[in-house]
C-alpha cells in the first residue's frame, strides 16, 4: 500500500516498522512532527523530553538494553545534545540507535543555519541523508541496521524540504528484532580512562569498516546518463539537480559521511566534467578533494548558505558554461510586483505575552530575551527585546552582563530584565537560574507561563500535567520550584493586568534582589481561550489617538478617515477574544465589552 506522507510522517512510520521501542525528542521545527506522529503508534514508547541532551540520553539508555531507539531534534538541538552524541560514539550500541538532526538551510524557522553532517565526521559515525519521503523511511530503517552492524550510533540528517514536503511512501509491517531486552553489565558503558585505553584505536578501526561498508550500500549509486556532465549530490539538492539537468549522469549519495570514495573515483573516470551540487557546506566536495578526486565545480559556483532550487542550479551552472540544463528552468519569469505590504507573524489576538511586552516597551528596559512566540516582542510595535541567542541564554547572559557592569548594574540606565517562556525555562533556563542564585546575581526574570510550547505548535511541558502519549503526570509549579532554588522574591502576576505587571516589574527592579515574576496565562490558541464576546470601540468616545495600537493586536484596525480626516479604530469581532488589554491603553474609555441592547418591551 502507498500513502502520501511528509518526510517526518515517513520517518515515524519507519520507526514503527523497524520495531523501535523508545523514541524521544524535544520539539523544534522542522523536526517536531516526527515524534507527534510516532505517538500515534502505541507499540512505540515515545516522549517529549525536557531538552535534546536528555532525549538523546534516554535513547542511549534504551539502546543499551538491546532495544532499538531514536532521538530527534532540530539542528540547534544537536548542539545541546553534542555531549551524549560524541560519548555514545565512544561506547557504541546494543540496540540500533539513530539520531535525527533536522537542519534548516535558509532559516525558515531557526535562529541560525548549520550543516550537521559535520557532527558525523567529528564523532566518527556514519551520516545518512534522504532526499524524499520514501527515503526518509528507508534510510531510518537502514540506519538502525547499520548502527547494530557497525556498533555505533548513526546520524540521519534531513532538511526542512525533506522533513516537510510530501510524497508517496510504500508502507510495510512492523518487525521487532528477535532478541532479549535486558540490562547488561559491560565495561564499555563506563567511559573511565582505565577502561577506554584501546577505544580510540577501536574507533579508527571501526571507521575503516564504515568506509568499506558505504561502498556497497545501495543508497549510494551511479545513475549514468550523458557523460559530458557528472553530478555528485545528496539530499534535497539531488532532486533539484536531477530536475535541472535531466540528461546528466549522477552519483546519488545516500551516506554523505563517509563518502563512498571508491565509487566516486569510478564515477569520476566515466564523466568529463564533475560537479558537486550540495546545500550548506562543501561537505561532499571536501571529501572528494581529500581523496584526490578532481572536482571541476562545486561551491565556486553555488552558494554557501541558504536553499538551492532547480532553477537556481540550472541558471548558475548554465552561466558557467555547463551544458544540458532544462530549457524551461532558464526562461525569464515575469518581474515580481514591488512594494506589497507583507504579512509578518504576530502574537495572536488575546495572547498573554502581549501585556508583558506592552509594559516592557513602555518602561524601555534592556531585555534579554529567549526563543519562542514571545521573541516577537523584538518586533514593532514593542521593540522590547535586545537579545535572543539560544534557549536558556536570557537568564545566564543577563547574569554575565551584571557581573561585567559591577556597581554600574544598579544605575537606572543599565536596568535590564530577562524574559523566558515556560518550555524554554524547563529546557535550559532552570540551570541558568540556579547559577544566578548561587553566584549572588540579582537578575529579574519574567517567566511567561502559557502552559505549552507555543512556537512549535503546542506541545506539553513538565508544567502541563500530561505527557506526549497522553498519560497524566505531575504538573510542576514554577513558582514553587523557583522558591526551592533559593529565589526569595517570587511573584505570580496576571499578564492581562497592565498595572499589575508594571508594579511587579518596577518593584522587583527597585529591590535589587534576584526576582522571578511568573506571568501566568494559558496559550489562547492551544487552549482555545475566549474570555467574553468581542469588545467594541465606542466611536463617539474614540479620539483617533491610536494609543491602543501600541499593543500590536491584529484584531484592531484603522477605519477609513472620517469627515475630519481622523482614522478611528475598530475591533474585528471574529478575532477579538475579549482580553481587554487594548482597553487599558485607552485614556478615553472608548473600548469595552459589548453592552447588551436593552430588551424591548
Amino acid at each position: 500500500m502507498r500513502s502520501v506522507m511528509s518526510g517526518n510522517e515517513a520517518i515515524a512510520r519507519g520507526i514503527w516498522e523497524a520495531g523501535v521501542k523508545v523514541a524521544a525528542a524535544y520539539p523544534g521545527t522542522p523536526s517536531t512532527e516526527i515524534l507527534e506522529n510516532v505517538s500515534t503508534y502505541p507499540d512505540v514508547y515515545s516522549e517529549w523530553s525536557v531538552n535534546e541532551k536528555v532525549a538523546l540520553e534516554v535513547a542511549i539508555g534504551a539502546s543499551s538494553t538491546g532495544a532499538r531507539a531514536v532521538a530527534a531534534m532540530k539542528l540547534v538541538g544537536l548542539n545541546a545534545a553534542a555531549d551524549p552524541l560524541f560519548n555514545s560514539s565512544w561506547i557504541g550500541v546494543r540496540g540500533g540507535l539513530v539520531v535525527i538532526s533536522a537542519d534548516d538551510p535558509g532559516r525558515h524557522s531557526s535562529q541560525t543555519e548549520q550543516d550537521n553532517k559535520n557532527y558525523a565526521r567529528f564523532a566518527m559515525i556514519p551520516a545518512l541523508e534522504p532526499s524524499d519521503s520514501q527515503e526518509c523511511k528507508d534510510f531510518l530503517m537502514l540506519g538502525l541496521e547499520l548502527s547494530e552492524e557497525l556498533n555505533c550510533p548513526v546520524l540521519m540528517r534531513t532538511t526542512t524540504r525533506t522533513s516537510h514536503s510530501k510524497g508517496l511512501v510504500e508502507l510495510g509491517e512492523r518487525h521487532e528484532p528477535d532478541r532479549e531486552i535486558g540490562i547488561e553489565k559491560d565495561l564499555k558503558y563506563s567511559l573511565l580512562p582505565a577502561f577506554t585505553r584501546n577505544r580510540p584505536k577501536e574507533m579508527y578501526e571501526r571507521l575503516a569498516r564504515i568506509r568499506r561498508r558505504v561502498e556497497t550500500l545501495p543508497i549510494n549509486r551511479m545513475e549514468m546518463g550523458d557523460t559530458e556532465v557528472g553530478i555528485v549530490a545528496c539530499g534535497a539538492a539531488y532532486q533539484y539537480a536531477r530536475e535541472a539537468f535531466p540528461g546528466a549522469s549522477f552519483l546519488k549519495v545516500g551516506s554523505p559521511y563517509p563518502l563512498p570514495v571508491k565509487m566516486a573515483a569510478n564515477f569520476r573516470s566515466r564523466v568529463k566534467t564533475l560537479i558537486v551540487v550540495e546545500e550548506s557546506d562543501a561537505f561532499l566536495e571536501e571529501q572528494l578533494i581529500l581523496a584526490g578526486i578532481k572536482v571541476d565545480h562545486g561551491q565556486d559556483l553555488l552558494p554557501h548558505w541558504g536553499e538551492l532550487d532547480p532553477a537556481l542550479v540550472a541558471n548558475l551552472l548554465t552561466a558557467a558554461g555547463i551544458p544540458g540544463a532544462a530549457a524551461s528552468l532558464l526562461a525569464q519569469p515575469y518581474a515580481a510586483q514591488e512594494g506589497l505590504p507583507v504579512r509578518p507573524p504576530t502574537l495572536c489576538p488575546g495572547c498573554g505575552h502581549r501585556g508583558v511586552f506592552t509594559v516592557l516597551s513602555r518602561l524601555k528596559l534592556w531585555v534579554s530575551g529567549d526563543i519562542g512566540c514571545y521573541t516577537l516582542g523584538a518586533m514593532p510595535p514593542f521593540n522590547a527585546m535586545n537579545s535572543d541567542i539560544c534557549m536558556g541564554a536570557s537568564i545566564s547572559t543577563a547574569h554575565g552582563i551584571q557581573k561585567a557592569l559591577g556597581e554600574a548594574a544598579f544605575e537606572k540606565k543599565n536596568r535590564k530584565i530577562s524574559v523566558i517562556g515556560d518550555s524554554t525555562f524547563f529546557h535550559s533556563g532552570i540551570t541558568g537560574l540556579l547559577n544566578t542564585i548561587w553566584n549572588n546575581g540579582n537578575s529579574v526574570i519574567v517567566i511567561l507561563d502559557n502552559r505549552t510550547t507555543g512556537m512549535t505548535g503546542g506541545q506539553d511541558t513538565p508544567g502541563t500535567g500530561k505527557t506526549l502519549m497522553g498519560t497524566v503526570a505531575p504538573a510542576l509549579d514554577i513558582a514553587h520550584l523557583c522558591r526551592a532554588m533559593g529565589v526569595s522574591r517570587v511573584e505570580v502576576v496576571d499578564p492581562y493586568d497592565l498595572k499589575a505587571v508594571e508594579v511587579s516589574v518596577t518593584a522587583a527592579l527597585d529591590s535589587g534582589q534576584p526576582s522571578v515574576i511568573v506571568a501566568q496565562a494559558p496559550c489562547v490558541l492551544e487552549y482555545k481561550v475566549r474570555m467574553s464576546d468581542a469588545w467594541v470601540v465606542d466611536l463617539e468616545a474614540c479620539t483617533a489617538c491610536k494609543r491602543c495600537l501600541r499593543v500590536g493586536c491584529t484584531a484592531l484596525s484603522l477605519l477609513s478617515p472620517d469627515e475630519k480626516g481622523k482614522q478611528k479604530v475598530e475591533i474585528d469581532p471574529t478575532l477579538c477574544i475579549g482580553c481587554g488589554v487594548c482597553a487599558q491603553m485607552c485614556k478615553f474609555n472608548a473600548i469595552g465589552p459589548k453592552v447588551a441592547e436593552p430588551a424591548r418591551a
Binding site: 525558515h108 550523458d226 532532486q239 532550487d309 507583507v342 509578518p344 507555543g454
Partner: protein, 198 residues
C-alpha cells in the same frame, strides 16, 4: 538517461493562515493520486499564528523530483486573496492560469496603519496577465451554506482546467471530507465550477 521524463504540472496555492489553503492543497493531492500520478507537495507557513502568508506547492506527473518549483513555473496559481494573488503572479508560466478570490484580508501591517493595501489590485492583475478568473468565493460559499467553504469554491472554479474527471473529484471529496460538512462543501465545489463554466 531518463528519457521518459516529462515535466510535471505545477500548482501554486497562496493565501492567508486560516483560509483553508492547506486543506485545498491536500484535496488536490488526493485527486492527483486518484488519477494515478506521482506527486510531491511542499508547504511553507510561518509560525503557527493566524494571519501570516501561506503557500503550498503541488506537483504531479509521471515522475516528480523536486518538491518545489520557482517563479515562472506554475501552470495554475490558486489564490485565496487578491494581494496574495498579486504577490505570486510572477510564479505563473506565460500561458498559466490564475484563479483567485476577490475578497480582501488586510495584513496586520495595513490594519495597524504601518502600510497601505495597494490600490487597484484587480486592475494590476488584469493588466499584467491574460488568463484570469476572479470570483467572490466567499459570497458563493455563503450561497452554498457557509462562507467557510470558500476554499471548495476555488477548487471547483479551478477544476475544469485540471486533468481530473468529475468522478475522481467526487470520490475524493466524499472520502476525505467529514460527513457533517460534506453536503455544503460539495455544493460549494459545484457552484465554483458552475461560475466558470457559465
Amino acid at each position: 538517461m531518463d528519457t521518459a521524463y516529462q515535466e510535471p504540472m505545477n500548482l501554486l496555492l497562496s493565501g492567508v493562515g486560516g483560509q483553508g489553503v492547506i486543506l485545498a492543497s491536500f484535496l488536490l493531492s488526493q485527486v492527483a493520486l486518484e488519477a494515478g500520478y506521482d506527486i510531491k507537495q511542499s508547504e511553507v507557513h510561518g509560525m503557527a499564528q493566524r494571519g501570516g502568508s501561506v503557500v503550498s506547492h503541488l506537483r504531479f506527473g509521471h515522475k516528480v523530483y523536486a518538491p518545489l518549483f520557482t517563479p515562472g513555473q506554475a501552470d495554475l496559481l490558486l489564490s485565496f486573496e487578491p494581494l496574495e494573488a498579486l504577490r505570486y503572479l510572477h510564479w505563473l508560466k506565460k500561458d498559466g492560469l490564475l484563479v483567485y478570490n476577490t475578497v480582501r484580508v488586510n495584513p496586520s501591517t495595513v490594519s495597524s496603519g504601518a502600510a497601505e493595501y495597494p490600490e487597484g489590485v484587480e486592475e494590476r492583475i488584469g493588466r499584467s496577465f491574460g488568463r484570469v478568473v476572479g470570483l467572490n468565493a466567499v459570497a458563493i460559499a455563503a450561497q452554498a451554506g457557509t462562507a467557510r467553504a470558500a476554499n471548495l469554491v476555488l477548487l471547483g472554479a479551478a477544476s475544469p482546467s485540471l486533468p481530473f474527471s468529475r468522478e475522481m473529484w467526487d470520490a475524493v471529496l466524499k472520502r476525505e471530507l467529514a460527513s457533517n460538512v460534506l453536503e455544503v462543501n460539495l455544493k460549494a465545489f459545484q457552484l465554483g465550477r458552475a461560475a466558470v463554466e457559465g
